[in-house]
């Protein structure tokens, strides 16, 4: 009898093989798997860092992303303390910051989905302030009802349809519900998303769902389920990197303006703060129509010209020429080349200049600086 129980059913084997749950999530003495999750998150972080980023491929740098936030009653569950809703809001706030740091000329829109209805909360915008304000306006009391994947996808699709062909169109769904109540055939919606080249990704909060997996597979998106708040952050950070775009996708020349950052002496209103005065005495004047902006990048609402600064464009280059991954080596003694802290056990060596760095410096160099201090 005992033997049979250990083997389990044959159909279980098919699931267990791919998952390796027993290898990844090992229980400690107290029966808790928290430590294993932390280890798993750290491992996947390291893996992501060591992975070589592809060079010289086409990247969809001009990204238009619709984020769908599940606001169904499942969001209020306390499965992730203090609650799924609070955890997701926190992760989204930090995601927005990192996203715009990496993709200065991208745009994000927000969709909420509750009571089986999807609603657009924020238009496509490149302004992080607007997005954060509308995120803050969401409360846990707002959540209720059921989730509808199809309605959410259709609304996202309607918003992305009008975008020009050269931009990379994406939908990211944060989903707590384990069910989706749809008015029609979801597979036909997925098919139409695929036809329109919209990349649909999803982040699950409870358990893996077949339909999400299918959707991500069909539209070349990513689907994964968050284990805990840290893991959720990690899953979000995967979406900050621009995806590679298909060779066949359209390309186009976009008309942009490069305004000066100047002191504006004449009394004027700005287009970004219609209810109050401009935030400072300095600002940007649209090169085409002369409208006043407080910050760029922005699309001029008057003449629809994209306004950016040259450095913001220059920053996006680093995705095309990333810093090569450093080799992890064992070091008994020595100093980190950059910050002169003593190295213990592990070090990271640049293959070009043979300088060895500590873990903190390595992360900083690859995540934000992208210049090796040793290479000249």
């Amino acid at each position: 009898m005992d033997d049979e129980e250990q083997k389990g059913y044959t159909w279980e084997a098919g699931y267990a093989e791919g998952l390796n749950i027993n290898d990844v999530l090992v229980e400690d003495e107290g029966g808790s798997i928290e430590k294993s999750i932390a280890k798993y998150v750290a491992d996947s972080k390291r893996k992501a860092r060591l992975a070589k980023r592809p060079e010289r491929i086409r990247l969809g740098i001009m990204r238009h992303v619709m984020i769908v936030i599940d606001c169904s009653r499942f969001m209020t569950s306390k499965a992730m303390p203090p609650s799924r809703f609070v955890v997701v809001m926190k992760a989204l706030q930090s995601f927005l910051e990192r996203f715009f740091e990496q993709n200065p000329i991208a745009q994000i829109g927000l969709i909420t989905c509750k009571d089986r209805k999807a609603e657009r909360m924020t238009m496509m915008t490149g302004n992080i302030r607007v997005l954060k304000e509308s995120l803050n306006s969401l409360t846990e009391a707002f959540c209720g009802g059921d989730f509808s994947l199809q309605n959410a996808l259709q609304l996202a699709c309607a918003n992305l349809k009008g975008m020009p062909g050269h931009v990379s169109r994406e939908v990211v769904i944060v989903m707590a519900a384990l069910s989706s109540i749809d008015p029609g055939n979801i597979f036909s919606t997925i098919e139409s998303m695929k036809r329109m080249n919209i990349r649909c990704s999803a982040i699950g909060l409870s358990a893996e769902m077949f339909i999400c997996k299918e959707m991500a597979k069909a539209t070349k998106g990513e689907y994964s389920v968050a284990l805990d708040p840290d893991h959720l952050q990690l899953l979000f950070s995967k979406h900050t990197l621009p995806p590679s775009s298909a060779k066949s996708s359209e390309c186009n020349a976009i008309h942009v303006g490069f305004p000066h950052h100047e002191l504006i002496k004449t009394r004027s209103f700005c287009v970004c703060h219609p209810d109050s005065k401009p935030v400072s005495s300095r600002g940007f004047i649209c090169t085409q129509c002369g409208a006043r902006h407080c910050s760029i990048p922005a699309e001029c609402p008057v003449c629809k010209l994209t306004l950016v600064a040259a450095p913001q464009l220059a920053r996006a280059f680093r995705h095309l020429q990333p810093l090569a991954a450093f080799q992890q080596i064992d070091v008994a003694r020595g100093q980190c080349y950059a910050c002169e802290t003593r190295l213990a056990s592990e070090g990271f060596r640049c293959e070009k200049c043979r300088s060895v760095f500590c873990l903190d410096c390595d992360t900083l160099l690859h995540e934000s600086l992208h210049v090796c201090p040793g290479c000249n």
């Binding site: 992080i128 359209e250 976009i254 002191l263 450095p311 680093r318």
Partner: protein
């Protein structure tokens, strides 16, 4: 806001290209090099009558402000393997002035022996080194409340709750314009600096008083950009404008740099353009519309132009 302990790390980055120093010396006279060195670090001048005469200088003034202040001096040269020439955290670096002057002297003599006569040096690696070193001390970041800069805005939660305030700053003393090939990587560095709330101040000593990318850098990170017309002006600029933390600078009237140039140079003619066309694949700037990108050869799809009517039939008849 309560501040119990204030610690400030200053990185000074000096261009160590012998050609640039030489150019300055030939323009402003032989004493130039001495004047520049003395404004950065103080030298003990032994005169028989007066005894030891101590001169005020920038680095020593920073170290003297507080016992917990740290100082890093970097020299960025052409074929330089070790960028950092002085760190107050190292135990064997006692006498700042002596070490900085000697190492700078060595670097410049080595560099002058080269047959390579190009002016300028890569700033990127030295700056990355400085940022790496400074992040070690900055567990709590407090950004300067510069709400109109391009960089990410500071979050209010962090600055209010900090009881231990660590400020990191960098001062770049440049003598020649930055090379064009470095633009992309440098911009990246400056945006990361803005995110880590490191303020970058720039003094330009050469002929270039607009500064180009360095002026943009100062604007992004909330620092100031100034041009020293003559070598004696360097000390004045450093002491009056760059000695204090950026958080105190709001108390003084801001120097009016009327406008910061954010124009891009186009890939086809290398001219500065105020509005242009950007290729969606490689993001290069073109000053006029062309059907094929000049950099990556991508063919643009033309959507707005109506198709020409088929004229073949009319020609034949």
């Amino acid at each position: 806001m309560l501040i119990y302990l204030q610690m400030s790390t200053l990185s000074v980055l000096i261009e160590a290209s012998s050609c640039s120093w030489g150019k300055l010396a030939s323009q402003h006279g032989d004493r130039t090099i001495g004047i520049i060195l003395r404004s950065i670090v103080s030298l003990y001048l032994l005169t028989v009558k007066r005894g030891v005469f101590f001169q005020v200088s920038f680095c020593n003034a920073h170290l003297g402000q507080s016992a917990s202040n740290q100082l890093l001096v970097f020299a960025y040269g052409r074929n330089e393997s070790k960028n950092m020439i002085y760190s107050s955290a190292r135990s064997d670096d006692r006498n700042a002035s002596f070490i900085v002057v000697n190492r700078l002297k060595d670097l410049l003599t080595n560099d002058s022996g080269n047959s390579d006569a190009t002016i300028g040096a890569p700033l990127g690696p030295a700056l990355a080194h400085a940022f790496c070193h400074m992040k070690k001390d900055s567990r709590i970041t407090t950004a300067d409340p510069c709400d109109d800069s391009l960089g990410p805005a500071a979050t209010s939660e962090q600055s209010e709750s900090s009881t231990e305030k660590v400020t990191n700053r960098a001062v770049v003393i440049s003598m020649s314009p930055i090379m064009g090939s470095e633009h992309g990587s440098l911009m990246n560095l400056f945006f990361s600096a803005a995110k880590q709330s490191i303020c970058v101040d720039v003094v330009s000593m050469g002929d270039d008083f607009t500064g180009g990318i360095l002026q943009q850098a100062a604007d992004i990170t909330g620092g100031s950009f100034l041009h020293a017309q003559k070598p004696p002006a360097l000390l004045k600029i450093l002491m009056t404008n760059m000695l204090t933390d950026p958080s105190y600078r709001t108390a003084f009237s801001k120097l009016s740099h009327s406008s910061v140039d954010y124009r891009a140079s186009c890939a086809c003619h290398h001219k500065l353009v105020s509005s242009g066309w950007v290729c969606s694949v490689c993001l290069s700037v073109l000053c006029q519309y062309t059907p094929i990108c000049k950099v990556c050869r991508a063919a643009f799809t033309i959507t707005n132009i109506p198709k020409k009517p088929n004229r073949k039939r009319t020609l034949r008849s």
